[in-house]
């Protein structure tokens, strides 16, 4: 395998080849990037799994795109029914949509509390919950979610105002970065990553055609850097900075992610104009290089705290 490929994709492939996913019976790929598309090809050839499916996600966020994405979701539904011998009825879909909307609402409430000064939760705590929530059956994490929602804030002095950091970027599955920030007495108040805030933003309309509603929500939710439109991304960043009173931004990007590589200079320009400290940390998905990053994170936090001009 070539070394200059996305480490996230390499990690998935490694899991398949080394048979680490014994309990997994199926995998759904999305046409998210050039590498992922080819991972599907390589996976289909070298990893034996009863079900693998490539879900096309259009890049154009318009009615034509929604219509095509709806057809793709219908096709996925049919294939799941065939392979696993289940019936995914309209009622079941509506129930699932309703359940997920409730979850989104509750999780967005957690993020909402992060707007407080100081924030309600530790960023690493929220990340851990989000990771568990996305990988476990929903009922297994309900109790935890309820506990988090009812959790009172750790008492702090009125002068306790840790620097407020926004983490953005693509997939972050490990708490290493968040812990680095927290150990340096700052807070990750929000993380707008593939599995963070962006993932939970926006509800699915529970209308008469649930498939179309799903297509609409997933295509129109706040865009990741895969989608066309740098301006939309900057607009969202601007909004998050204001809502969460952000004082510094860390962009966590998987190494060799082309989308991020094209976006970073534009984000940097925007933040420089707005005089907000910014740090890009390219990582290998498992964050094996934490010690080298630590000094850069600490330097950023010094700048944010005004200890260094």
């Amino acid at each position: 395998m070539f070394p200059n490929l996305c480490p996230y994709l390499q990690n998935i492939l490694d899991s398949g080849l080394s048979k680490k996913l014994k309990k997994v019976e199926g995998i759904i790929f999305t046409n998210s990037c050039d590498g992922m598309r080819r991972l599907y090809d390589v996976w289909s050839n070298y990893v034996q799994m009863p079900f693998s499916f490539m879900l096309e996600i259009p890049k154009n966020r318009d009615e034509n795109g929604i219509a095509y994405f709806s057809e793709q979701l219908l096709d996925l539904k049919r294939r799941l029914e065939e392979v696993f011998g289940v019936k995914i009825s309209k009622d079941k879909l509506k129930t699932a949509i309703s359940l997920m909307n409730d979850r989104r609402g509750m999780i967005m409430d957690l993020f909402e509390k992060q707007k407080q000064i100081p924030p309600h939760y530790k960023g690493s705590e929220l990340l851990s919950f989000c990771l568990e929530e996305t990988t476990c059956p929903k009922d297994e994490t309900t109790q935890k979610l309820e506990a988090l929602t009812g959790q009172s804030r750790t008492p702090s002095s009125s002068q306790d105002r840790p620097p407020r950091i926004l983490v953005m970027g693509n997939v972050i599955d490990k708490p290493a970065l968040f812990e680095m920030v927290e150990n340096a007495r700052a807070s990750v108040v929000a993380f707008d990553t593939c599995n963070g805030l962006r993932h939970y933003s926006g509800f699915v309309e529970n209308g008469s055609d649930p498939i179309e509603s799903l297509a609409r929500r997933y295509l129109l939710k706040p865009p990741c850097t895969r989608m066309p439109g740098f301006d939309k991304r900057i607009e969202r960043l601007e909004q998050l900075i204001e809502e969460y009173s952000i004082e510094g931004v860390i962009y966590g990007s998987l190494k060799f992610c082309d989308y991020s590589l094209f976006e970073v200079p534009r984000i940097e320009d925007f933040l420089r104009k707005n005089r907000l400290p910014f740090l890009v940390l390219e990582n290998d998905y498992i964050w094996s290089d934490v010690e080298r990053m630590r000094i850069r994170v600490e330097a950023l936090l010094e700048v944010v705290s005004g200890e260094f001009d």
Binding site: N45, Y46, E56, P58
Partner: protein, 426 residues
């Protein structure tokens, strides 16, 4: 700089064509003239990647497409291998060297103010995503919208509908920027030119099967990529017609270069100056065919051109499952009776590099030697002539051993040790 460099080359090519008409020279002249046309203030300039868009639609409006990738990437060769002096401007603006050199070069040209102003910035989602981002950056620098032609990875009635709907929307945009009303007959005429040129390309490709090979697969590759903007115009037809005459004459007169080894090349040839092809020529190794020069699309149905052009986009050799390409490359290797296959690997080409193991294993099963040749399309800083020479000589040795032992198992071990197993899951 871009404009003056191209003007010089076009003038030079015109002189050469007067003295000795050659198909490839005609292609070079036409390609660079088209690029120059985009600088004309009265011209309607549409940015596009010719190899990833059905340009027949643009010719129906008499628009000469401006292939921003091809235009920028002609500069390193034309300026004596000086691509990095342009790329460095994008790197200084924060664009990482992990981005494909093609796109760093485009952004560098943009920063240097070398690019013409576009009326429409059109690009495609397939090979590759970086290109669409580069187009968006160029468009926004001019305060213009970039339009993405989004082609899914599967062929079905719904994907055809999705692509057709986009072609129709793009047609409306073309009406707006040209002030013309769309004329279905003109599109049918463009499609007809495209089909006629396609028939000639099939003929050229059949002639290339002759031994020794009467033309050059590397040039066929450049023609396929750089000439793609001419599908839908008589220019492509004229180039192909001229090439057929030359190739036939070479076969009849027996003037093709002597040949010891026959090579299939994929996916693209570097546009910077390298010692690859001189090394191959010195060792009498011919590139007899390039994957992208193959005719991978069906004849376009003139009766329903939108649907047929959508199908042409969906049938693109790099759209869809890699399995399709693997089969096509193995078939080409067999049809052209090659002694080896070279994959020219440019570091940031994620989709190419990720799927090369599939091609490698398929060729391995057939006992066809495979070489992954590391290099870079345009960045001379990522290219080592000495290492390339060494790698190529080893590969030539493998082909020689294989020929000496016949194509059986005896030579297979050598090939496996040198080129296969380290890079394969099989």
């Amino acid at each position: 700089m871009m404009r003056s460099v191209f003007q010089d080359i076009v003038a030079f090519m015109e002189q050469r064509l007067e003295k000795r008409p050659r198909g490839f020279d005609l292609f070079t002249k036409e390609m660079l003239s088209a690029c120059l046309g985009a600088f004309d203030e009265d011209a309607t300039t549409v940015y596009v990647s010719g190899y990833a868009f059905p340009t027949e639609l643009l010719w129906a409006f008499d628009i000469v497409p401006f292939d921003f990738e091809i235009a920028c990437n002609n500069l390193p060769q034309a300026t004596g291998g000086n691509g990095s002096s342009i790329m460095i401007h994008s790197e200084n603006e924060g664009y990482s060297r992990d981005i494909c050199s093609f796109y760093r070069l485009i952004i560098g040209c943009m920063i240097q103010g070398m690019l013409p102003k576009g009326d429409l910035y059109l690009t495609s989602s397939y090979y590759c995503h970086g290109k669409a981002k580069a187009n968006e950056i160029v468009a926004s620098s001019e305060g213009k919208e970039s339009v993405l032609f989004d082609v899914p990875n599967e062929i079905s009635p719904s994907s055809i509908r999705y692509v057709v709907s986009q072609l129709k929307e793009i047609t409306s945009k073309l009406e707006t920027i040209t002030g013309q009303t769309f004329d279905l007959d003109k599109l049918k005429e463009a499609v007809s030119w495209s089909n006629r040129a396609r028939s000639l390309l099939i003929e050229i490709n059949n002639l290339m099967k002759a031994k020794p090979c009467p033309w050059d697969g590397a040039r066929a590759c450049l023609l396929a990529l750089g000439g793609a903007i001419f599908w839908g115009s008589p220019i492509m037809y004229n180039i192909n017609q001229m090439l057929i005459q030359e190739i036939q004459a070479r076969i009849e007169k027996g003037t093709a270069m002597p040949e010891k080894y026959r090579i299939l090349w994929y996916p693209w040839v570097p546009v910077q100056q390298t010692n690859i092809f001189s090394t191959l020529r010195e060792n009498q190794a011919s590139v007899v065919m390039a994957e992208v020069a193959n005719v991978w699309w069906s004849e376009i149905d003139e009766a329903s051109p939108f649907e047929a052009l959508a199908l042409k986009a969906l049938e693109n050799l790099l759209v869809g499952k890699a399995e399709k390409r693997v089969k096509s490359i193995v078939k080409l290797a067999e049809d052209y009776d090659v002694d080896g296959v070279i994959h020219f690997s440019t570091p940031a080409c994620r989709h190419e590099n990720f799927s090369s193991c599939l091609i490698l294993d398929a060729l391995n099963d057939k006992g066809i030697p495979f070489l992954n040749l590391d290099g870079d399309m345009t960045d001379e800083r990522n290219y080592s002539p000495k290492r390339t020479m060494n790698t190529l000589c080893l590969f030539l040795e493998v082909m020689k051993n294989r020929k000496a032992a016949g194509a059986g198992n005896g030579s297979r071990q050598v090939i496996d040790q040198l080129f296969f197993r380290n890079d394969s899951f099989g």
